[in-house]
């Protein structure tokens, strides 16, 4: 397929701006050759097509990523130097992905706004220690594991004193009583 045809194919597949999650639809049709063609026509593509194309890389089976590593990296390098800021940012984030399977988190030097927003938010995060919005997995953890991950939990605010236990306490006692009676009877029989 010539470079022009490849560009047209990509446009047909990824050109829609209504669905910006459709990158993965092209995964099954990618190959080493196709990626080489894509690299040649990359500069002619529309920015959102470029971004979707790169995001499709995340959905390629790992085995193929290993095989196509250098082609994928070539495309990402072209993207990093793109004039569209979204394209270059996505390229930058994915830079390490073909080689390591992990995303690049060293982005501060490449984008001023990213660095500015990140540093503002970092200050805010440090001040939010007492907020205690716990990660969801915390409910599953034994006490020791919980303390090891997030530190001691604060006691809830005491909104009142309890002058007596609610009815539930009596019920609990009754249930345990019944339970032990049943256990005794079972033993006897």
């Amino acid at each position: 397929m010539a470079a022009g045809d490849t560009a047209l194919w990509l446009h047909n597949k990824l050109g829609s701006t209504d669905d910006l999650w459709s990158g993965k639809t092209i995964c099954s049709q990618l190959s080493q050759d196709k990626l080489q063609n894509i690299h040649s026509c990359f500069h002619t593509l529309q920015p959102h097509v470029k971004a979707k194309l790169m995001l499709s890389f995340l959905h390629i089976p790992r085995r193929n990523v290993d095989l196509w590593k250098s082609q994928l990296e070539e495309i990402l390098m072209a993207a990093i130097h793109d004039t569209d800021q979204w394209v270059s940012m996505v390229g930058e984030i994915l830079r390490t992905y073909p080689a390591t399977g992990a995303l690049n988190l060293e982005l501060e030097d490449n984008n001023g706004t990213f660095a500015e927003v990140l540093s503002d938010l970092k200050k805010l995060v440090k001040r939010s220690v007492d907020l205690k919005m716990l990660p969801m997995e915390c409910q599953f953890l034994n006490k020791t594991a919980l303390v090891a991950t997030t530190g001691q939990q604060p006691q809830p605010t005491k909104h009142f004193a309890l002058k007596r236990k609610p009815k539930s306490a009596t019920l609990r006692a009754e249930l345990l009583q019944k339970s032990s009676e049943v256990a005794m009877n079972k033993k006897r029989n």
């Binding site: 910006l20 971004a51 979707k52 995001l55 995340l58 959905h59 790992r62 800021q85 979204w86 996505v90 984030i93 992905y97 399977g101 992990a102 995303l103 988190l105 706004t113 990213f114 500015e116 927003v117 990140l118 938010l121 970092k122 805010l124 995060v125 440090k126 001040r127 907020l131 919005m133 716990l134 990660p135 969801m136 997995e137 915390c138 409910q139 599953f140 953890l141 034994n142 594991a145 919980l146 991950t149 997030t150 939990q153 809830p156 605010t157 005491k158 909104h159 009142f160 004193a161 309890l162 002058k163 609610p166 539930s168 019920l171 609990r172 249930l175 339970s179 032990s180 049943v182 256990a183």
Partner: protein, 415 residues
């Protein structure tokens, strides 16, 4: 738009596609949202989450960018766990919208260093279903004595833990007995193992609690899977109470109880005043602060159930029993969410007033000063409402209702 953004009016940029067009504008809108969450906490986040999700999930690139930004922030020693929660809420919402975000989640989780574990997890998370082959891969890696296991964080993925709970505690999932112990092992491992890191290097893996957790989980899972009725289970109550002390088991039991109670015939056939399964919910609430909301959600679902098949009076009695559970949750420290819910019920006017009265009178029966202003603000309007508490008052003012009102008037600024 960029000019509006440069001038600092992020709040004015409401159209999603406008905000997402330029990376600078998007970044600042993102900053505004995260700032609001960090300043307002869970309640504010829950309220704004739909709008936030809509913006972040505009495209896969905006989602990727936001998650990368937040992953960096989540690494902060102090306060980072708050951001981790936002990341997770976002993942969950994206998932619910049918978006496949698993590759991004895993690429950001550090799983890449363990390609086999990563592949096994990714296949299960993408399909939202567990399978014996992938479970076996993970089990082997985490139980291997020769090679060091992957970090425990890798399997501490909420969606994965939920799937394990579901497989072990829901009736409709038929678990192959041959593989069951692997599911139990992985869940126990995730719940109990701690790791010590120094400068990013894992120095120690502490597995002291792994065995007791696994044993207790096995015991309770077997009990739950036997499909015994309440009277058959009576003899096992103390075992259940013991084992429920492990949070992961409490979550499993909640899921199991939830399913049993949602069976229409349950309350029709049950003759106990308070069924055993509801007492188990009480016990979970007593033991686990972090599960209060989950338990309350279950009780709310139950309370709002129509119970058409029951006689009106029986239905009211049953709802009172459920309210008693809410009073229990309330007495254990989950105060504002419970009172808020009852107020909502009253405002919507779809709840029988005698039920609201029952709740209020049970609460007045157990509480004593000192109260907080927040609590008084929420609770006093219910107490002052004549429709609710009129019949609870006596002429001489010697009753809990009058006493509460008197106390509040004397000690609080009431509006």
């Amino acid at each position: 738009i960029k000019l509006i953004s440069d001038a600092g009016y992020q709040g004015e940029i409401t159209s999603v596609s406008t905000a997402c067009h330029q990376i600078e504008v998007f970044s600042r809108v993102l900053r505004t949202s995260i700032t609001t969450f960090l300043e307002g906490g869970m309640d504010v986040m829950e309220k704004n989450l739909p709008e936030f999700t809509k913006m972040v999930c505009h495209g896969e690139h905006t989602y990727l960018y936001s998650q990368v930004m937040m992953t960096i922030l989540a690494q902060e020693q102090k306060g980072g766990s708050n951001i981790r929660r936002i990341c997770q809420e976002l993942q969950k919402c994206a998932n619910e919208r049918g978006l496949d975000v698993t590759p991004i989640t895993l690429a950001l989780s550090g799983a890449a260093a363990y390609p086999r574990a990563c592949q096994a997890l990714s296949s299960m998370l993408s399909k939202k279903a567990l399978n014996p082959a992938d479970i076996t891969v993970l089990y082997k890696m985490y139980s291997d004595n020769q090679y060091p296991p992957p970090p425990v964080d890798l399997i501490r993925v909420p969606a994965f833990l939920d799937l394990l709970i579901e497989s072990l505690f829901k009736m409709n999932t038929r678990l192959n007995p041959e593989h069951k112990s692997k599911y139990i092992y992985l869940l126990s491992y995730a719940a109990s193992v701690t790791e010590v890191y120094k400068k990013g290097v894992r120095k120690q893996i502490e597995k002291k609690e792994l065995k007791p957790t696994t044993q207790a989980l096995e015991k309770v899972q077997t009990l739950c899977a036997q499909n015994k009725n309440a009277s058959e289970l009576l003899v096992d109550v103390s075992t259940l109470f013991q084992c429920i002390k492990f949070p992961v088991i409490a979550i499993g039991v909640l899921a199991w109880v939830d399913e049993i109670l949602s069976d229409k015939s349950y309350f029709k056939l049950n003759t106990d005043h308070t069924p055993l399964h509801l007492v188990l919910v009480d016990e979970i609430v007593t033991n686990h602060l972090l599960l209060h909301q989950k338990a309350l959600d279950l009780l709310i679902r139950l309370f709002e159930n129509s119970f058409d098949e029951l006689d009106v009076l029986v239905r009211l009695e049953l709802k009172k029993t459920v309210l008693d559970r809410m009073v229990h949750v309330f007495s254990c420290g989950c105060v504002l969410p419970v009172v808020n819910y009852i107020r909502e019920c009253h405002n919507k006017q779809d709840t029988d007033i005698s039920l609201i009265r029952h709740f209020v009178s049970e609460v007045l029966d157990v509480i004593a000063p000192p109260y907080t202003q927040e609590f008084v603000n929420l609770f006093l309007p219910l107490i002052e409402n004549d429709g609710i508490t009129g019949t609870l008052r006596s002429e001489d003012g010697n009753d809990y209702v009058s006493e509460f009102i008197c106390h509040c008037k004397a000690n609080f600024v009431t509006t």
